[in-house]
Subunit: 583 residues, 2 copies
Amino acid sequence: MLLEKIQSPADVKKLSADELKTLAAEIREALVRKVSTRGGHCGPNLGVVELTIALHRVFDSPRDKIVFDVSHQSYPPKMLTGRARAFVDPAHWEDVTGYTEPTESEHDHFLVGHTSTSVSLALGLATARDLKGGDWNVVAVIGDGSLSGGEAFEGLDNAGEYATNFVVVVNDNEMSIAENHGGLYRSLAALRESGGAASDNYFKALGFDYLYVEEGNDVAALEEAFRKVKGTKKPVVVHVHTRKGLGLRCAEERKETFHWSGPFDPETGKPRGEGGENWPDVLRDYLVGKIESDPDVVVVHSAVPVGIGFTEDVRKRVGKRFVDVGIAEEHAVALVSGMARGGAKPVYSTHGTFIQRAYDQISQDLAVNGNSATILVTMSGADGMNDASHLCIFDIPMISGIPNVLYLCPTCVEEFRAMADWAIDQRERPVAIRVPNAVQHRNAAFDADYSGALRYRIEREGAQVALLGLGDFFERAERAADLLAESGIRATVVNPRFASGVDGETLDALAATHELFVTLENGSVAGGFGEHVAARLAARGAKTLVRGLPKEFYDRVPFDELLRRNRLMPEQIAEDALAALGK
Amino acid sequence: MLLEKIQSPADVKKLSADELKTLAAEIREALVRKVSTRGGHCGPNLGVVELTIALHRVFDSPRDKIVFDVSHQSYPPKMLTGRARAFVDPAHWEDVTGYTEPTESEHDHFLVGHTSTSVSLALGLATARDLKGGDWNVVAVIGDGSLSGGEAFEGLDNAGEYATNFVVVVNDNEMSIAENHGGLYRSLAALRESGGAASDNYFKALGFDYLYVEEGNDVAALEEAFRKVKGTKKPVVVHVHTRKGLGLRCAEERKETFHWSGPFDPETGKPRGEGGENWPDVLRDYLVGKIESDPDVVVVHSAVPVGIGFTEDVRKRVGKRFVDVGIAEEHAVALVSGMARGGAKPVYSTHGTFIQRAYDQISQDLAVNGNSATILVTMSGADGMNDASHLCIFDIPMISGIPNVLYLCPTCVEEFRAMADWAIDQRERPVAIRVPNAVQHRNAAFDADYSGALRYRIEREGAQVALLGLGDFFERAERAADLLAESGIRATVVNPRFASGVDGETLDALAATHELFVTLENGSVAGGFGEHVAARLAARGAKTLVRGLPKEFYDRVPFDELLRRNRLMPEQIAEDALAALGK
């Protein structure tokens, strides 16, 4: 196998044209085998095989610096930079992360997981090079879908000002995660159709020289283009037309499904493993129901519509009542603020790790204005995603630090529906709802009104110890209380229902009859729910244990291990409570 | 006076061409009088007088919706929509805010203070209109300087996709706050020079129709253009060339100085009032010294270089060692991460209210990567800015929620220099430093090393009560301790030095000998320094009073009143401590 012999880009440079074809085929084979078995980014990586080979044949990495945006195209680059074994040999599949990672290789300059960042990061490398008088090339590789993010624009605009070596490779596979959205994409289409000659060139408008390569999956054509720009003294865009999913029929035909996927049968494209109840389906059914029963409801998403189960058929069904703005979280939040102001009932949804891309917009465009948009923060908690670049544990500190926003944390599907019904209809303020990962059900009655000074709900009355289990960790509080009961302690169990403040009255009342409080949250504790509660209780000198996850960028730690490490298993919670009570 | 009789835009529509000239002159006179006396945004408002008149003559506000970006151009619009008195009559000057404000008028649709947001907000109004079948016009007015912000791009890109009525007026006065930066601005210049005919039109590239108006300070020319686009069924940009500062010589000649200014003599342009020591001067001297003594240091700013005293002469002096990226905070943070990775020593500075525009970049581009950029958060605290849209009190919760970032809080100029010296030279992690507003000096020795597990500094050893005064509030802790001494309590006074975590060892040791802790911080308490401390101490049941500002968008509350309201005056702190001790 050729691939196994590639220790570094120097080995790629030595290959003949025929060998390069073999190498490309082997890369695809390894990719499909690994991704179809354990899941991962499929389509984007299949599309950039030749692009990566050509980059490494023309440029001299790591002396020349190549920065891959969002890293969804990082598997082939890893294979050509000494990490082939992590794709070829199943025993070593877990040796590498799914993203570029400087600790793995000198060819990786940044850990990149969120999108639209490569141009700015690479420009920083170019600026440092110019300060130091270096003469190497700096290359940013960015997908067409990532161009819709404001940070990419800011980087391109700034780079366009400098008369220095800077190459941006636009990997245009005609797709974001789903289809592209935005006027820019008509321009890109016009450029593709005209062989790069169309007028009103976006990249030229920002100050770049421009080169188009139609054969983006042809190593020779790519090499020729890269040789032209190597050593450039001006910023230049190489616009490359690639085919997402190339080499795997199901991925070519169903680009969105195979952007990222769990394990699947590569012959049929059918997913492996069980289905089971999941939040995207719950959210889809709920939101489609809302759209169909209330003409004012609009659902907005930023490029990951499958996060709410809005697959292509659903999108067709609801038409204009669903708006995908592309990768543009800032705009999405400002847009829903405007929609709410205009009398609509907008619901914006994004994953917990991405909501942080719109801090200022939640604060300024939405919360200062008090507009009544609803935000669903999906995949929240440590059981969401567990790559260091995709942790979903910082949303509570972030959102609960912003005035005017009510952050509701339902304990189960039924409570979610009650909260969302109210949030969407009310006109008083922005409301965020934390959608967990685990699908839990509770057979109970839930309030229909969450306005005014929201109160905690005491679900089990006890004494001595009060356990406050936020959202999906409510169940954990109940289980810890069951264990405490075995030790003769009848613990109070509280469903706090919201994280954006505290119910001081309830806390004060409980403090009169309880020696110990334990807060439980599926998120980073620094600035989170538990700290808000502890600060209130500390004024009375009440003992409080704040339990959640430490403020850390942990990488791929299994959920249960993380919980155990941070004493969040029910038996640990009970044990610590007993110890704190001196029992 | 004509202006006093303008009750609504309908009155503007009735005026003759001669009367419009008189009106424009009266608006400018009122503007200059108010702004030169009490300070405010001068140049941007002087430039849009005719633009505002023309907009209100052609469109029918509030039925047609006009959304002004960043509101720096909001004074003339306020004068023409029933709020002239707040500019003409000094007794009513404080009746209106400096920003668009829906509670003031039905012509204002959003409270806007941060920039680059108008397109997205207005598109939300347009989407809601289309849902409801309305036929009014929606107009966003955005300055050329604001176009560099990623959110504006995201909004334009999304809007370019829809076949619906949407007008974007680009008010091009050839300036951001300082000069513009970015390749886009060469395109705008080319459009101005070619009367709108230049190729590679940025707006067309994003899907907009396009119209250029060279005479941006001519009501008739503007009216003609606006009549052409009124009722459009497609998104269209009207690119208007205006003159910033028109009508006031000093503002026309020194556009940057008079973008915003304190009181000044309108004849000479000289500032009124005392100079005195200030942080921009301290920072300028410090940073220029660094640049001149260390070839690796680069200073980066996003459009408000006067915040660090980098006026035009200073910028010329340091040349390429200073980078102004324009209004592009996201890019700025990613850029300095790249610079640090490339071996430079970058220092990025922005105000406390704007750092929140880069939450995700601090987290992902910088902190996950552990790159050693230094961020100076200027004007931090409630004595920074006090408009609801510009509060500088949320930086501690925000930054201290992000892993890997050390947030240092110096108590005085001398400690700032010691911390910054270390931060800039170290290579282990990103460091943010909170630069307060009040210039305080302390005659003491400060550590040269802030690496590893940073410890609190006990500056005065006592018993019973420990006062932890963060940053500029350290002095307040000292004064409260002096008052407590008068009551026979020798309080411990702690300089915590950092807000991004706690020194648990010191807290635990103090808890053994102190009954009460009081934390003091010049910022929002929700998720801030005090809550981190209280959570640690609550595990031991130690009584802690967390003192700072409530999580609120208060508007223009004087600093002392705010402190008194939140029991932050030294005598209130001492009084509350005594009460908590039961004395």
